[in-house]
């Protein structure tokens, strides 16, 4: 069932400019052609009884409740499967129809438990509603016949229960898994009376291919599939619309509440990014917000070997401010800085960079994008003029060829992946460039036309060889290039890319991808009506990350795949607000809106608005902060929501840098890895506890709305404001809406954005200004933001990270559906049931060479360090490549990653680390030290309450 506040119109909306007018029960109604009679009736407040129909899914016509009489048509057609026609005359109710409906309900209820008063669906059950709607008063069949009332429950999934005794076999769950999610994990097995819903080959939900997205639960009209939280707590009494705090899809949810207690998260049917769908994380994994590990009181300590001391907010903020001022007095103005994260709203990020610039007096501010999509901003700004993707998600539905490079959307952007798979099932072609056999390569009803299984570190070689084919085989869209791009840059690039050394034949030794495959893929993309590129961190987290982004942009421009729906360059931003944190200028060299700090006129605007002189030289990026710390020059750091000790590469180097600082202020929910090196801990607030906005991968700004008071006492933006005032820079915002108003005032791409406008429109894709008052779904229509598109030469430069006899394998990293990034949130939920540890994926050939079998402990050593992981032997990786995730700090995935980074942005080269794998019997030395250090820090935390009580 949909959320308690949503009305289900029965069948999906149809987008059609052509309108049809018909009469339903004497009322005239005009709807787009293709709309069902059922939906047309619902739009005029005539609610035809239904059970198998829901607007989330295509009509099925099985329950026979929605029958109507249509003038000129025989019998009683189902209104859900009958499209409207001009002049149609429909009667939704008469005695015959009423009798049929009552008969149908009698059959349903004859085989259904009658425990309504104690049922989890009580008050929000469509079966109950329909029994009432048809006036059911008796069941003439009685209840003594064969039935399914003792069918067992499946409670294997931690988030929902499948109670088969209540199932009416409407197939909504099966269809939801097919149409919405695209996993096809469910089916109806058996026929007639024996029909039952089965997961996979009739196994439990947990054992099946089910990915726990909850689409089936949402689709179910009865209590058969119910959220466990709903079963435990009962129905919500109000709901609040907010935005997910996990990945870059930015799903819109209705948080259904009982007071300040969340009963369940229901995807918003009107969510502009997710259209009523969600994944296991956003829908179910919110328990971290109320986890016992939450630290709710401020704490301070002098040294990291000291126990924490719980103090008042006043004392904590005062101590933090005095330390920062002391450090600056001793070591200089540039000796402190700040780091924001995607956990921060746009408003919070804006405040932190304002605090650093105006309060600290330097530009030492950076954000999580440093380690993920900073090359995207660099590459796209220089080629097209804007540091963001070009389309919205819906654009994929008009793509003819989808080219996925270095991304794993079914794991990293699951809701968008479901939409992409819908398009692929409709017949779009797919090219995947990835060293691993990701799920998208082959899944139900989907098979990639080409899987370019390249060696890690050879992206630019591959993209150059593809572009070589485009140019040398006459596939360039000459007219587009002539009209829209800089001629000199194109000619220079064309000469470069046409060189024989860029050919697929020359590059195949480097990439490992056969030339014939590259040529075929290039021709497919080059001759597509609409070719769309989607890419992720497999592109950016390389020493040539920025170069590769430019190479992608070159390819898209050369083939004319920019400036309309169905095409584009689409960076799949990994996090809920990484786009926003960049937009808000949390960068050492740029103000909000991507304008360099050295630009006098821009700086003057901010100086005028903020009332202080600002520095015109770039500040320190995160990796540079570490170096400066080790050099004794950087001593104070304010971190909001980012866990650099776990997420940044070469962990030992990072922790050494942290240990050399004198005041680290961590504002977070939990004692994370960075907080173990901190001197001040300020309790952070989750997305449920604050107002603000997030910006997703589509540049879509959406509201985050508070559903409960901040458990630590202050929302994150309020804490930053307290700190700013304490260091002597006054801030006095009363509400985040005021912060957004200031952002809009100072940022040309945001001038039309306000909380009021967001409430009005639901969401806004920037730029939103006088030129684009309702926002901008598609960028570079007509002309590029920079005017003409610029081609840039992308010479392939091999990484410095070389394999050799000592380190013969390449380690690459990634993420998994059920866990999120460093796992701080998802590890504190039942999602651990799907992924309880990071494993090392190793090819059977490499495993056999080393005597490694499934489940063995494997020492993984690089030039940076070593760690131990358990093996997963799989052919998903190619020989010579190993893979792991990084969701558990004790795995030490980043102990082995190096400081090699993108030449332009210092984005770490997580995807290429030369390693050796050896079967071992005990943890690594780092892991032993880590365990000891962590246990010690946990003990110091436990004593905090005892010290405060004294």
């Amino acid at each position: 069932m949909l959320s308690i506040v949503e009305h289900d119109y029965g069948t999906p909306h149809r987008d059609n400019a052509k309108l049809v007018t018909l009469t339903i029960d004497g009322r005239e109604v005009t709807v787009p052609e293709g709309t069902s009679v059922m939906r047309a009736a619902a739009l005029t407040d005539i609610n035809i009884p239904k059970l198998c129909a829901t607007e989330q899914l295509e009509a099925f016509g099985s329950c026979r409740l929605c029958l109507v009489q249509i003038e000129g048509m025989k019998g009683l057609p189902a209104s859900c499967t009958t499209p409207v026609a001009q002049g149609m005359k429909v009667r939704t109710q008469n005695k015959q129809i009423a009798d049929v409906r009552r008969g149908v309900m009698e059959l349903y209820i004859s085989d259904h438990p009658l425990d309504c008063l104690t049922c989890p669906a009580n008050g929000h059950c469509e079966l109950q509603d329909m029994a009432g709607a048809v006036g059911l008063r008796e069941v003439r069949y009685g209840y003594a016949g064969a039935n399914h009332l003792s069918a067992p429950k499946d409670t294997s999934n931690p988030y929902f229960t499948f109670d088969a005794s209540k199932c009416i076999v409407c197939s909504r769950c099966v269809r939801a898994c097919d149409e919405q999610q695209g996993t096809l994990a469910l089916t109806i097995q058996g026929r007639g009376f024996d029909s039952t819903v089965a997961a996979s080959q009739n196994v439990s939900f947990m054992e099946s291919e089910c990915v726990s997205c909850g689409a089936c639960v949402q689709a179910c009209p009865t209590a058969t599939l119910s959220e466990n939280t709903l079963i435990a707590k009962g129905q919500a009494e109000h709901s609040v619309t907010t935005t997910c705090a996990y990945c870059g899809v930015g799903c819109s949810f209705r948080a259904e509440m009982q007071g300040e207690d969340v009963v369940r998260m229901v995807p918003n049917q009107d969510g502009h990014a997710n259209h009523g769908h969600s994944c296991v994380k956003g829908r179910f994994a919110i328990g971290y917000a109320t986890h016992p590990d939450r630290i709710l009181k401020p704490m301070i300590r002098q040294k990291i070997s000291d126990p924490w001391r719980e103090v008042s907010w006043e004392e904590a903020i005062g101590h933090a401010a005095s330390e920062l001022k002391r450090i600056q007095a001793k070591y200089g103005r540039n000796s402190i800085g700040g780091i924001t994260s995607s956990r921060c709203t746009n408003e919070e990020t804006y405040l932190v960079q304002k605090l650093v610039r105006a309060g600290f007096g330097n530009n030492n501010v950076d954000t999580c994008a440093r380690v993920c999509h900073s090359p995207t901003g660099y590459g796209l700004k220089n080629t097209m003029g804007e540091s963001a993707g070009t389309q919205n998600f819906d654009s994929v539905m008009k793509a003819d060829v989808i080219f996925v490079i270095g991304a794993n959307p079914t794991d990293g952007h699951p809701v968008f992946a479901s939409q992409m798979k819908r398009r692929l099932r409709q017949g779009a072609h797919l090219i995947v460039a990835d060293p691993r056999g990701i799920d998208l390569v082959r899944s139900p009803h989907i098979q990639a036309d080409h899987h370019l299984k390249l060696r890690p570190g050879t992206n630019v070689a591959l993209i150059n060889s593809i572009a070589h084919v485009i140019v040398t085989e006459g596939l360039v869209k000459e007219e587009f290039v002539r009209e829209r791009c800089e001629a000199p840059s194109f000619e220079k690039w064309r000469r470069f890319i046409a060189q024989p050394y860029n050919s697929p034949e020359a590059m195949q030794e480097i990439t490992g991808v056969p030339a014939s495959e590259v040529r075929a893929a290039a021709r497919l993309y080059g001759t597509a009506g609409n070719g769309a590129i989607y890419y992720g961190l497999g592109v950016t987290e390389h020493s040539q990350g920025s170069t590769m982004v430019m190479g992608i942009a070159n390819l898209a421009m050369a083939t004319g795949n920019i400036g309309r729906e169905g095409v584009g360059v689409n960076p799949l931003r990994g996090q809920n607000n990484v786009q926003g944190s960049c937009d808000m200028g949390s960068f050492p060299h740029e103000f909000p809106g991507y304008r360099h700090v050295s630009d006098d006129s821009v700086r003057a605007q901010f100086e005028h608005a903020w009332g202080v002189q600002l520095q015109g030289e770039p500040g320190l990026r995160i990796p540079n902060m570490f170096e400066a710390a080790l050099d004794g020059e950087f001593k104070g750091l304010y971190i909001e929501g980012e866990d650099i000790a776990q997420s940044d590469p070469n962990t030992q180097h990072v922790t050494a840098a942290l240990q050399s600082m004198e005041c680290i202020i961590v504002q977070d929910l939990f004692l994370n890895e960075s907080a173990k090196f901190a001197h001040v801990f300020l309790p952070g607030s989750s997305f449920l506890e604050k107002d603000g906005t997030f910006t997703n991968a589509e540049r879509r700004i959406s509201r985050v709305r508070k559903v409960m008071q901040p458990k630590g006492g202050y929302a994150d933006w309020e804490v930053t404001q307290l700190l700013a005032n304490a260091v002597g820079y006054p801030m006095s915002y009363a509400h985040p809406g005021e912060i957004m108003d200031e952002i809009a005032h100072l940022t040309p791409t945001f001038t039309g954005v306000s909380f009021a406008r967001l409430d009005e429109l639901g969401s806004i894709q920037w730029p939103c200004n006088a030129a684009h008052p309702d926002g901008t779904p598609t960028m570079h229509v007509g002309e590029f933001v920079r005017g003409k598109g610029k081609f840039l030469v992308t010479e392939y430069v091999p990484t410095n990270e070389k394999v050799n006899a000592k380190y013969p394998l390449i380690l690459t990293t990634g993420r998994i559906l059920s866990q999120y990034n460093v796992g701080a949130q998802t590890r504190r939920t039942e999602n651990n049931r799907w992924h309880a540890e990071d494993r090392l994926e190793i090819h059977p050939h490499d495993a056999e060479e080393r005597g490694i079998v499934e489940g063995d402990w494997v020492g993984v050593e690089s030039r940076a360090g070593e760690t131990v992981l358990r093996a997963r032997v799989t052919e998903r990786v190619q020989p010579g490549v190993v893979y792991t995730t990084f969701h558990f700090p004790e795995s030490g995935a980043n102990v082995i990653t190096t400081e090699n980074s993108d030449w332009a942005t210092n984005c770490p080269e997580y995807k290429v680390t030369a390693v050796q794998a050896t079967r071992v019997t005990q943890p690594s030395e780092w892991q032993k030290r880590f365990r000891e250090f962590s246990e010690n820090q946990e003990a110091l935390l436990k004593s905090a309450g005892a010290v405060a009580a004294k």
């Binding site: 920025s546 430019m550 937009d583 060299h589 030289e617 990026r621 170096e627 080790l630 050099d631 004794g632």
Partner: protein
């Protein structure tokens, strides 16, 4: 490329400069390559980083630093007040 040594370990600054140079060496005109490297360093390196690398070069010579980034650094040193400009690869964000 290595991001280490941005602070005291200037060898890493040498590596960073070389990595930047590797991108711009594809410029057919040497002066454009030098200008591109210089602009990138001016846009993204703190004054202290530039100071450290210059001090390292003074103390240890140009050993290890490629010719193009060396020329770029010399150009920056000769024109310390010139500001970075947008029109060249150099728009790091997000």
């Amino acid at each position: 490329m290595s991001g280490e040594g941005h602070g005291g370990n200037a060898e890493h600054l040498v590596q960073m400069a070389n990595d930047i140079g590797n991108f711009f060496r594809s410029e057919p005109e040497r002066k454009d390559a030098i200008a591109g490297i210089a602009n990138h360093i001016a846009k993204f390196w703190t004054p202290r980083m530039r100071e450290k690398l210059n001090a390292h070069l003074k103390a240890h010579g140009a050993d290890g630093l490629d010719e193009l980034p060396l020329a770029a650094l010399q150009s920056l040193a000769a024109n310390p007040s010139v500001k970075p400009h947008e029109e060249a690869p150099g728009g790091d964000a997000g």
